[in-house]
Symmetry: C2
Subunit: 423 residues, 2 copies
């Protein structure tokens, strides 16, 4: 591929995980789908030397994109360092200064804070310092973005400086792409296709055994295991389409019984099936305590098919809110197939839904017994045509057990609604 | 600081955001708390040249840690490339091969899959290829880790090769740290202290104005805004303790009314207060649909104070499961202060909890009106001594509105239970 880009994510809070970086992956994906080859993402703290080293490492790329470090505090220093590395010292842009000051004032008034222009003036001035010859991208939040060309008469990448908050960065992305210098740097990129195949219920080692025998010229295949799902992403240029078609044939032949999708996620499939069939769903969750209903409602418009759910953490709540009979709880215990079924039936009945799902288990780290070790989870889906139970012992941390249970429940819904590989 | 480390996270699925990297930040934090200076995290795809370039970029560090790329598929190539860069070609470790084969066989039997040793043998052999002179760290999952010294007689970093799944990586970390060569490379690190101050209800620009006037020698201050909370993390050597004490005094004086913690998170504070006072809590959520109760139950042992919650997405569920009067819904609409209060009261009553929380709002992107735009959220907490309502219009995406509402609810709980800055 002809055009290469690198990404630098700045911020000590990102480097140390206090904030999860969403910008690097988002930008990498956008660029790759544009046909730009992304070698890597560098995450560095708020230290001038580390940012400088990162920019130098990427000095042979065509485009470099930085995120973060555009705020008013002293640890925000991206514009200055980028200007320095590009041989373009920063200078005050007076018009930008007035513009940012106006934004801050409106923001503070909106929060009912007294606007104190003097106290914030230094921060505003800092945000209006622009490398000589750079193009300013208008702020989406308070921080402007920048397109900084290589040194006058020199070579090197165009550096696009974007703010850290993902909504501001994504809002500014179209303006960055439309910039004339960015356009010029990106000219010559080539079309890239991307396809995803999803398997459920098999192991990565089985897939590896299948793929080992095949040459896959022109295909970049990445496999990834997540919550029990195996995702196979393939990227290729248009000329390798026949190769991809052959790969898909191989996967269908070797793993057809586990292949549940050649594109959409399990969430897409479940939402689509509920919407298409005009069915509604409700949940009753114990160990996952709301995670499943939160996931089902992530999607805009989901109120058309999700009626709601009960997180019945206490046994009293399982009885009072979902109608699990006290004698079932007493006889089999809260973590049992019987209670999972009663939760699913209860959710269906109490919410008046077509489909009910019940989950009960021991997420840990405490609460396990020899009979019911940590990770024991019982699930049940109940639809108009009957019920499907499932019992598993899941490995991993409390959080892993909860997440994995929710993904398993999604596959039980998928199987009930659409068939395909058993959950 | 004397000892420096760099981190390389491998995997096209991480680079493109299909999997969120948790390893880079986790390792960076562990190393920094050990007193090791981390310059940056490099995320690269599964391509030999990009991994090689990343390792070369970090060739002046004392220790380099890689994560991922140790699986059985052809895109997993870390051991080979690290061996290559360290001048130590890989060779088969027959004992390790038998060990990994045994793990795979047990794993497949546990999943009820027929074990086919021949099909998986090539993948197993690949996982047992070890750079000459490297130390093997025993597998936590299926993949072994490695400690790979610099070239025989040469200089350069010790490279620690760890698996990608966070639970495997974290499980292997103590063995990696205990390794003799790693210990030698880390000798000479210096103690680093870390303190966190948390503000609620102020703007980053106000904080910037406060800090601008002060010299902070020996302190590395990072500020970070998240869901309306302002987090100020300071790292420093023991000699700078008086400077830190001075900074804390300045923050207390300038932002005392917004300072809600000098350590614990709002989640810690709420859980601690509920446990200490022997109080129970229940939720009724509309737009956040289970996210709040899921967050309250993330903590082990939370069943002692969380009774449960209702995600009452449909109006019928608000009436039937939480007892919101139909006439209140009809008169004021589902998104109203009145319904938020009725949800909080209903949650408290139906679950028999001491404290109830109600949330109703328009998360978007659809459903907004001129009177009730997208982002409108009404919340209410009800305790033994009365109720606290709150109404806001939150900016951002559907996901941002939902997350921010949940954080606001946590602060309303904090304020009800402990006082401090108003939510």
């Amino acid at each position: 591929m002809g055009v290469r880009a690198g990404i630098v994510v700045t911020g000590t809070e990102v480097l140390t995980g206090r904030v999860t970086d969403r910008n690097g992956p988002w930008l990498a994906e956008q660029l790759r789908l544009l046909g730009v080859d992304v070698g890597g993402v560098l995450v560095v703290g708020d230290r001038p030397d580390d940012l400088r080293a990162a920019l130098r490492f990427l000095s042979t790329e065509d485009v470099v994109i930085t995120t973060g470090g555009l705020g008013p505090t002293a640890d925000d220093l991206t514009a200055e360092i980028v200007g320095d590395v590009q041989g373009r010292p920063v200078e005050l842009d007076a018009e930008l200064e007035r513009h940012v000051a106006g934004i801050i004032e409106r923001l503070m008034r909106g929060r009912g804070l007294r606007a104190d222009p003097e106290a914030t003036a230094a921060g505003v001035r800092k945000q209006a310092m622009v490398p000589a010859g750079a193009t300013v991208l208008p702020p989406v939040g308070t921080a402007p973005g920048l397109v900084v060309p290589p040194p006058e008469g020199g070579t090197g990448p165009v550096v696009v400086v974007l703010p850290g908050p993902p909504s501001e960065l994504q809002g500014m992305w179209p303006a960055a792409l439309a910039d004339e210098q960015v356009q010029r740097a990106l000219a010559g990129r080539s079309e890239l296709r991307q396809e995803t195949v999803r398997l459920w219920g098999t192991l990565e080692s089985e897939l590896a055994a299948t793929l080992r025998g095949y040459e896959l010229p022109g295909l970049e295949v990445t496999t990834c295991l997540r919550d029990g799902e195996l995702e196979i992403v393939t990227r290729y240029g248009p000329e390798a389409q026949p190769e991809y078609d052959r790969l898909l044939g191989v996967l269908r032949e070797a793993h057809g019984e586990h292949l549940f999708s050649t594109g959409p996620t399990v969430d897409d499939l479940v939402a689509g099936a509920l919407a298409d069939h005009g069915l509604t769903v409700a949940t009753a969750e114990s160990c996952t305590s709301g995670l499943l209903v939160a996931r089902l409602t992530e999607r805009p418009g989901s109120s058309a098919w999700v009626l709601g759910g009960v997180a019945s953490y206490a046994n009293s709540a399982k009885e009072a809110l979902v109608g699990v009979p006290g004698e079932v709880l007493a006889e089999f215990g809260a973590v049992s197939t019987q209670v999972a079924a009663a939760l699913a039936e209860g959710a269906r009945e109490r919410f008046g839904a077509d489909v009910g799902i019940g989950i009960t288990g021991i997420a840990g780290p405490g609460g396990g017994t020899p009979d019911k070790p940590v990770g024991t989870v019982h699930l049940c889906v109940v639809g108009p045509d009957g019920r499907q139970p499932r019992s598993v012992v899941l490995p991993g941390s409390r959080s892993a057990v909860r997440q994995r249970s929710v993904t398993l429940a999604m596959h039980m819904l998928r199987q009930l609604l659409l068939g395909g590989p058993p959950a």
